[in-house]
Symmetry: C2
Subunit: 411 residues, 2 copies
């Protein structure tokens, strides 16, 4: 890709994200829904103006979601996260088991082999927390207990996803599973996350002290982002998602005395990078699969429809693993539902191994897209209180108020 | 390039830039010199940890210098720029003619063909304004009249460079020059720059009005950068450097009522992107050519030494095209001297056409590097007043005071 091409792509992403984000906001939807829609319109499905498979765009999108989770980590109190730890673990485990079993049984009932069934089940277990946290921020609900549970569950979910990925990869490549390797991977992931937070806390305090002694300007923001990248790299190395690392880095820096300055300086950087991630997710969606007038799509759409019900139910029910009546279990479950690009990683492993083929792969892609695109409106429905006497439709499409950053961050 | 590789590269760039930038500051040098040195150490010449030819790094560096010139444009008053317009035109024209004639005569005297001599002369005419403006900002001299003359001359220089590039490209590819094409290119470039400022002023005011009506957050910074990218794209399309476009966009937005907010929000974004540009420039320098103990380098170093004298003298003397005794002509000339990556573009065209070969190309690379690396200390020597009674050496290496942004921008 050359500079001209990159400039065109970025201009399209920014204009699309802002125009459709604003539109979404005006019809009472989370802004991120508009960014996803902008991606669909500009991407492979419609206008083909943005290539979501271009190396530079993939990398900038990755940086975007790393910075987003770093920002979220910075605004999250680690003690509140630990308080909901057991709830979150329950949500993560139930939210993996239910979709997996559902997908597996469905595939076996439809005559697929056990191997295909395992891949299908695995693909349904994923959670793409990037979407959910942006919706929560858009709705001004990032400081709620439900948000904490979702965040902690997403970390647990990522560790579980890592284990599942190792299992299905072994199954796909070798036909059997090495239990020792799985124990190793699990231990490494758990140890990494704990170490990332413990070491991160010590490191972050020293970093801030060093930065305060520096005479050159810009050291705080560059130092903080370098720290986030370093922790992301660590997560990548042990096989976790990079965002788990940047989230941990954010948690650590959030406990230092400089965290408010960092949050302020980080905001414009996040405004530039995060839309690239969401527009790219949208641009990946191939809407041609959704065309019901094309007979070739019928089988895909029927399978996708059934899988979608399993995928949604599995995650929504996981919210009820929280045994606390003050918690909005539906909201937690809905928040765990978007599969985003994470589910596609599983499906892609299966496709490369020749296990998940043609139509089934297309059906999985449709399910991933549906869960992602329904999360913003469903989260609004389950989390935002409707005033008495207002009709559901009026309330749902009521233009959102101007959500300045103070509202989003609750300060 | 994958995410792991990109994270490693960015971590190295940020840590290197900050560490050596701080070191440069402590020994009284402009911070950017440290960033260049960090690049040399990490790049192709020494540790080979950063690959400056990786597509993603080239593009991020390009975005970095676009954002830098946008930031400079934002802080520049266009009326002050127009006031020095004639001075600048003189500096640009003399600064092109002298190095060109010098390089041409040198090459012919050494027995090269006329064609080679033209390429050599052309390569010496370039100016890389990115280096100079960063040094001026580091020294807190961005608001001086000398800085305005250099900025305006850099724009004129870029238009002249475009014409020369068209000429040498025609000569290299076809053996002769089409005068009509050159007139076309010149007219297009001049019309573009005037239109960019006139249309930019109208457009910028409307853009700010639209942004003020938007309810979603982050619209101001995303909108401003989109505007800068759009104008950069326009410049690219007419064949000018992208930075000429983003500089014009900055000039236009600098006249709107929101310019202070934009400047504040742009700063963290610039802190992240600009070091990538300077470290990349440094990483491109192959220090092996400088090794005098390798006999193969002797011819290169002798030719480079002579060319360096011609290159420096030509630009320094151009400063005296300003017939105004209150202006520091030496500083203007020294500010026009760094060739950076711009000179390499000329040399590269000659190399691809098979005209500039082996040792001569190496010598040009050495000259480009020398002019770039000497600009920061030379600008300090020519622009910063030495207190009475302090020795030159003490003053030169005196640790710089903490240059907070208020000092840099003069407000």
């Amino acid at each position: 890709m050359d500079l001209t091409h990159l400039l065109i792509t970025l201009i399209l992403i920014f204009v699309g994200a802002k125009a459709f984000g604003e539109l979404a906001n005006r019809v009472g939807q989370p802004t991120v829904l508009g960014e996803l829609v902008a991606g669909v319109i500009l991407g492979v499905g419609c206008l083909k103006l943005i290539d979501p498979h271009a190396n530079v765009i993939i990398l900038l999108a990755d940086i975007g979601v790393i910075i987003l989770l770093f920002e979220i980590g910075l605004a999250t109190d680690i003690r509140e996260l630990l308080e909901v730890g057991w709830h979150s673990l329950g949500v993560a485990v139930v939210g993996v088991i239910l979709p997996f079993v559902g997908g597996f049984v469905f595939a076996v009932a439809f005559g697929y082999t056990n191997l295909v069934a395992i891949f299908l089940g695995a693909a349904l277990t994923a959670t793409s927390v990037g979407i959910t946290v942006r919706v929560l921020a858009d709705l001004g609900k990032l400081k709620t207990k439900e948000a904490k549970i979702i965040l902690a569950a997403a970390v647990a979910d990522d560790i579980v996803a890592l284990i599942i990925l190792a299992v299905v990869r072994d199954l796909g490549l070798r036909g059997d599973v090495s239990p020792l390797k799985i124990i190793q991977i699990t231990a490494l992931a758990v140890v990494f996350f704990i170490a990332a937070i413990v070491v991160g806390n010590i490191f972050a305090k020293r970093l801030v002290k060093i930065i305060e002694k520096m005479r050159t300007s810009g050291t705080l923001i560059v130092g903080s982002i370098t720290f986030a990248f370093l922790w992301s790299l660590g997560a990548e190395v042990v096989g976790l998602a990079a965002i788990v690392g940047s989230f941990a880095a954010g948690l650590a820096l959030g406990r230092t005395r400089k965290f408010e300055v960092i949050a302020t300086e980080l905001k414009p950087v996040a405004f530039i990078f995060t839309p690239i991630f969401f527009v790219k997710i949208g641009a990946d969606v191939d809407v041609r699969y959704f065309n019901p007038f094309n007979e070739a799509n019928h089988a895909v759409l029927i399978v996708a429809g059934s899988l979608f019900v399993i995928a949604m139910l599995g995650k929504v029910l996981s919210g009820f693993a929280v045994f606390d009546k003050r918690i909005n279990s539906t909201a937690v479950g809905v928040g765990m539902a978007p599969r985003g690009e994470v589910g596609l990683i599983f499906a892609e492993v299966g496709r490369r191994a020749g296990i998940v083929t043609g139509d089934l792969f297309a059906a999985i892609v449709v399910v991933m897209a549906l869960t992602t695109f329904l999360a913003p409106p469903l989260l609004k429905l389950s989390m935002v209180r409707r005033p008495r006497g207002m009709s559901l439709l009026t309330w749902f499409f009521e233009p959102a108020r101007k959500r300045v950053s103070r509202m989003i961050w609750g300060r």
